[in-house]
């Protein structure tokens, strides 16, 4: 009975979805996105508030955002308020998880891991950590950024958690780092209000497109976001292994 009702509901959804895809007004045909009528045209040529100029890699100096990775310039500069909202949602979920878990007696009993996992993780963990830091700092030149690199740092600590059965991470230092990085992100926004009059606007000079030291405040913000996301996800993963308190 339940399966028949579920099939009925799913077929109604399927009818709506296929109608949406077949009509060419709401969703364009696959592969035919017309960019000149969308706002992304101004994001690509970096001309939201100035006139249309052509941006060249390695030659343009003092463009509007100055980062070579166009997705980074949208996430951190043009739509930076949405990134602030996302950081807030992650913070609230980590807070909720540690409130639900509550005060506990320590971690659950883990069994000892095999030989391959122990020696393999000793080789792999520093490599993961360094690749994570590289991806965070080069967020404006190559694909990557704060969220990707922060998750890589958290998965390096996760590797240590599953391969060493006596490893208990000291979460106090991670929590201090998380709170500090989150508040520094907002403090940069407030500094930007006092210097330029708009929240989270770029107030440093953007150098040449393609250099490591370029793009204004984008590498600084991504560094803070990377540290915050890394320590937050580590906290979430370590909360999952806590022992249940005796009621």
């Amino acid at each position: 009975m339940k399966k028949i009702l579920a099939l009925l509901l799913v077929s109604v959804f399927a009818f709506f979805a296929i109608t949406l895809v077949q009509s060419d007004q709401l969703v364009p045909k696959f592969g035919d996105a017309d960019l000149s009528s969308r706002v992304s045209d101004k994001y690509i040529s970096k001309s939201v508030s100035v006139d249309n100029k052509v941006v060249e890699y390695g030659e343009t100096v003092n463009a509007e955002t100055g980062s070579a990775n166009l997705v980074t310039s949208i996430v951190v500069n043009y739509r930076s308020f949405d990134t602030l909202g996302e950081v807030t949602v992650l913070f609230i979920s980590a807070l909720g998880i540690s409130l639900i878990v509550g005060t506990t007696d320590g971690m659950i009993k883990r069994s000892e891991s095999g030989f391959i996992l122990k020696t393999g993780s000793k080789v792999l963990m520093p490599i993961l950590l360094i690749v994570g830091i590289y991806v965070i700092t080069h967020g404006h030149l190559t694909p990557g950024g704060g969220f990707q690199g922060g998750s890589m740092i958290a998965s390096a600590v996760l590797l240590l958690l599953i391969s060493d059965h006596e490893f208990v991470p000291n979460m106090n230092k991670f929590k201090v780092l998380e709170g500090l990085s989150g508040s520094l992100y907002i403090i940069i926004g407030l500094v930007s209000i006092s210097l330029t009059g708009y929240f989270l606007k770029n107030f440093m000079p953007t150098g040449q497109v393609g250099e490591l030291m370029s793009a204004g405040i984008i590498p600084i913000i991504y560094l803070f976001i990377g540290l915050k996301v890394g320590s937050e996800l580590t906290g979430i993963l370590s909360d999952f292994l806590k022992k249940e308190a005796n009621v």
Binding site: A6, S40, Y57
Partner: protein
């Protein structure tokens, strides 16, 4: 085509969410729905014959054919928020298990 397979993944996720009795499988169905939705959003901004939206020393000018970078920025946020939702859901499922000693919703009977 990838758009049709993204819609089928979304429908499979909803079907799995509705017809299962195990709490963890409901959260797995929600995850399948999110994966299908992310693929669908990125296919909105695709252009055949275009390049990835990064200025490099080969694609070095901004008047080339780029794919739309705005849906990619939106999906980046959506993936991370999906992780947060899954984590909170699993902690609540664990609390339900500790109290009732089962994951089957027929045996719990609505007394959460």
């Amino acid at each position: 085509m990838i758009q049709i397979s993204a819609i089928v993944l979304m429908l499979l996720g909803i079907y799995g969410l509705l017809t299962t009795k195990h709490i963890i499988k409901m959260i797995i169905g929600l995850n399948i729905f999110e994966v299908g939705l992310n693929i669908f959003i990125i296919t909105i901004g695709y252009k055949t014959g275009a390049v990835a939206p990064i200025l490099t020393s080969q694609n070095n000018s901004s008047i080339l054919n780029f794919v739309d970078p705005l849906p990619q920025a939106i999906v980046l946020t959506a993936i991370v928020i999906g992780f947060g939702i899954t984590a909170v859901g699993l902690i609540l499922a664990k609390k339900i298990y500790v109290q009732h000693n089962t994951y089957n919703i027929d045996e719990i009977g609505g007394k959460i």
